[in-house]
Symmetry: D2
Subunit: 388 residues, 4 copies
């Protein structure tokens, strides 16, 4: 019988809120997972942190993540902070023998990610688990799509077509929040959202990108400084500052398996709110997914007679599909946060079973390498650049 | 400052699971609601109940609902049982001074519903609140649609077109579960799902149905008896029994405001899983909603120039729309259970503010009267029948 | 070798325009049909008729339909006039030994339709062919749907759900054109557009409606008189007149095969332009069609594993589907008028092959009987009324 | 008053069929265009040509295009042959004083296209008109989109996202038809279909592509030789040959106006039949179009309140939209061939009015330069390449 696993979460912003929800509910819907205890929440600003503790339902709040990590009564560290802190926290936690789940992108550059992946490999030898939180792998529709591709339903893969379209900073007066600051965020649309579709393409096809040709572009080069840094909203302006990250990243890609890919990530597609979409075309069929319709997978079976073939809309709320039996009857939609509950469920199962959770820090490192190659290519007149 | 409100929930099936989730999370996302305590869960089968208590996260479990209701430390009673027990429990709870939220349909017939509505009116004089749980009112898309209609965006209303299509009992070997037993369920598709679209039409249009012409039909008249009654699945067959409820209910309707309506509820629409849809057409515009795309509202503005007009798909994940600010950024989908969290949030706010939660037991009684008129009409060669 | 068949068309309004197009192009795309000659166009207003002759490409124009029909060099009479003239023209043409294709609805009432069907049966004995022009039967998507149902893909049929929604007379100042005048048009939405979905339900299911319960409603009871009768637009107002037809017709229906149907036809559904839709649900699958997406058929195969099932969008532009090989490659959309070209192609093939074109005047009579039963039921408090 | 313009058409394959349809019908629907006479059809294979003459409805057939072009009684030359013959025919026709409409792509390379554009400019001085047949400009939905962008509805443009996806050669046993032969076709998906989306992006945005970074890929490198060259189907195999064109072309692009674009053309997207789609995102709104739904334009107005905004589906069958008044009432779909009728209508109007038809040969040359730059970039490790 497993004892309760005690969790410390670092960070309490958007990701902190959605991770808290997952920790709170995972045992209610997935009773086979180890029981957890929401032990400690960590953050820098004492008052806001206490507020978060109460609202999100954690036992304790501490402003010093080092102390939380060094505590004997903590089994799991959940890193929900901005990318510039991942390396330090994750490596410290792994060395302290804590299982680590870390928000994506794994790091702000390849060198940080490499160190983290190395630490994870070392820790793994002592049965300490680590996982990077590419939550879209746990969208049931994408899990179904992966099953289809793995089972050969799509045949030889030819095309991957992946977009991640948002529109939240179209307004030139939207302030210069931390996500637009290269020092904190590493990059813009590239690391924040292109990272997701790079990972999704690997998850679905089991094939890695070997080379890319890309462009990065910043449409709005100056923005008002935010009065105070509090997530996505900002108070009184204190002048203007320079946007140091990309507003959009576009690239073409070659995959190990011979497929060709087109990728686009942007925060400037008016009307597209969280349109993370991916299509894969193969010799025997195709799949299409768009997160704005996250409970649906489109699937075309090219082996059907041509007169009867077409993209079918599979409602991924069927109990025979991954994760869904835990929730509601067919046709009863699930939402964004469920993907995090699924992710933490899988993470807990891996701890329980002694298996390696996926995606690993090495998978996170791979994504970082692709991001890096895109940036290098973009800085080099789009010259086709190998992913190292 | 409000003390924690202590809740007793009766029933632990499908509705018990989704209500438990709402109670567990409401304070985490809506901090302005009174704090609640998940005090007691009640049910008949001791072992299954204890299981539910642990999984759903209630403090205590009791097999005797009367004792739960009579406890001084209980403030709220949440009724999630089958329709044949609503009257007794609800009236007892109200008389004991407990706020009551009761699953729909309010009762299995008009006479029971009338007694309940009367009890609710009496209780209301003592500031005891009651609410019938038509959760679809709390789908943000329908709340937006209501705002549009209330504000006159649709002009004079001409048509209501409402379907609730499912397919879960198409297989003739699907067993004779309680929902197919008139004594327990009152009726079939009529009370279970037509009730929802009747309520939704009233919620949206603020206009009541005055007369109906209907038909009821049972396609599969005999089914295997279930080995044991455990929700929607069943073990070994013990012979066959007669289906005593309708498989489908169809009716046309006249509204107070002069609009005409068509309604259809069925459990035999292959491929339609939980397709609760409603369209309203007015002189200045139209809205369309389908629960299988619950994060979307289609809206046509007929005052746009004809060359530029069309149904727009409003993604109802915008913070300026009802309920949504509590959750995630735009484009981050919410699901079925969120409607219950919203419902319980509104119920708690009404208790806090001393206002009357909506829909009231009187609203539930109105729906029951329409259901009754449909059944009368169906038994009378579809003769147009007044809703009394 | 067949000689050219010489055609006389009566009427030159909307239907005259679309029929002319079909006659002009049928030999260009379907070379196996008999060659035709666009010989004579008939109408009452000399100047407008001559205009139509030139624009539509007919050899001659005559203002006297009787003379056209009595000419020896005419083989086919195509009736595109309003419903109040069908009986006289069609019977005269059939008796004169001309093949007749007649616009729908066949007539303005059952008695006229009965006489026409009788005349058609008599003429048939002399190899004179007749056909009623329910063009939607020749939408490839509906032809595919019929193949699916005929082949048993849908199993036992349970539901028919058919709407025909338009919005062209929502404006109360839209004038009182002939389609709103009972004497000329027979009825409103009922005969004009409900007729189409009644025929489509019969075409698809091969099962007739045996009883109906209906309502008719006129939302706008007075309208400006049109200055001159010229189709759907009107000039200066000459006062106001009474609308003598229904704006909407709604009814429930029972089919011979045990299925139940809901039907709605309206000209008051803002934003719905020509939304003729039909869904059929059976024990093994479902189909859905909407004319506004006329190149698509949705098909759900309920025998697929539940985790992989869903409505597939079959693009009906595949050469293996009915009619399509004559046109363009897959994915190259066809339009409204193509259905008329298909219809006339089938009519010509029947003449060539000596077979009976479908739908026959008897089929048109059947539709008229259903329309009649709906009107009777509507006048009788929606009492379920047998289709005689 | 204008005399009839006499047309000679060169080629009688797929494009010959669809152009013939346009010539046959243009005067029937657009009476303000000059009257035309379908005088001569030209082709190499006598028997097949005569067949085409009869079926398509041309007066004469000649196997020698030079003679057709030199005839005094010919006013217009319509070039529907493969790309390798365009230059010779077009220049000869222009020099002979004939108005020329030429299928796209204008030529097989920049040098041919340059000569043609020069000849067109010379001819223009003598009032001889020329036009390249990018028919998608005449899809009403794209014409509406252009109006929106021209009028500023989209604000500053940020993104163009254009795909042209087909699947007709996925089968590796599909034969090596002329479209897969570089000598005849110039290139594969690049010139055949990427050409369309390049032109569409220019048409919509009025902004040219200045640089591109691309990749070309051939998935199936050998195919069976076709028995005889007859369009897209082939008889007995005569061995295998090498595919000398690209199966897919992908590229990113920079526009004069600062927007960034992603383009993809492929014949290997299973289930996508003729999915020519384009999305444009601007600071004030977005449009989206997909040819498989060619009667629809999606438009998002970003100046709407965020809670009410969304992509609206404009059914482009409204008489107030370009071209549509000539056809049918709202909601009555038009098809692929209508775009050619519109194109020829505009061409005839330009001849009548003495204006310059659009797109001009210079526009065709521009597209050729982009195609060329993509090929150069693809041959140069995707290095960003200027469009000269």
């Amino acid at each position: 019988m497993f004892q309760k696993l005690r969790v410390a979460m670092i960070g309490y912003g958007f990701m902190g809120k959605v991770h808290s929800n997952a920790w709170r509910n995972v045992n209610r819907f997935f009773p086979d997972a180890p029981q957890i205890e929401m032990a400690v929440i960590c953050g820098r600003s004492k008052e806001a942190l206490e507020n978060a503790r109460v609202t999100f339902g954690w036992n304790e709040a501490v402003t010093d993540w080092q102390s939380a990590i060094s505590r004997k009564d903590i089994d799991i560290v959940d890193i929900c902070t901005a990318g510039d802190t991942h390396e330090e926290i994750a490596i410290a936690a792994l060395r302290a023998g804590k299982h680590v789940i870390c928000e994506k992108p794994l790091a702000n550059n390849v060198s940080e990610a490499t160190a983290m992946a190395e630490a994870a490999r070392d820790a793994s030898k002592k049965s300490v688990k680590s996982m990077v939180a590419f939550n879209y792998r746990r969208v049931p529709a994408l899990a179904v799509a992966k099953q289809f591709i793995d089972s050969g339903k799509l045949g030889t893969l030819y095309h991957v077509r992946a977009n991640y379209l948002q529109d939240w900073i179209i307004d030139p007066e939207f302030p210069l929040v931390w996500r637009l600051d290269k020092k904190v965020a590493g990059s813009g649309a590239l690391g924040d959202i292109a990272a997701h579709i790079i990972d999704a393409s690997y998850f679905l096809t089991s094939s890695k990108i070997t080379s890319v040709s890309g462009q990065l572009k910043t449409f709005i080069k100056e923005r008002p400084l935010p009065g105070t840094y509090t997530g996505l909203t900002a108070g009184a302006s204190l002048g203007r500052g320079t946007v140091t990250v990309d507003d959009t990243a576009v690239f073409t890609a070659n995959f190990e398996n011979g497929a060709i890919g087109t990728f686009e990530a942007t925060r400037f597609a008016a009307g597209r709110k969280n349109a993370m979409s991916i299509e894969v075309n193969g010799s025997k069929g195709s799949i299409y997914f768009n997160f704005e319709d996250m409970n649906e997978l489109l699937y075309h079976d090219h082996t059907d007679p041509s007169a009867e073939a077409g993209f079918r809309k599979i409602l991924t709320t069927d109990g025979a599909q991954p994760y869904i039996a835990a929730w509601w009857p067919p046709g009863h939609i699930i939402g964004y946060e469920h993907t995090f509950t699924h992710e933490i469920y899988d993470f807990l199962l891996a701890i329980k079973n002694g298996s390696n959770p996926s995606p690993s820090f090495d998978d996170g490192l791979y994504v970082q390498r692709v991001l890096d190659a895109v940036a290098v290519s973009a800085g080099n007149n789009s010259l086709l650049t190998q992913v190292k």
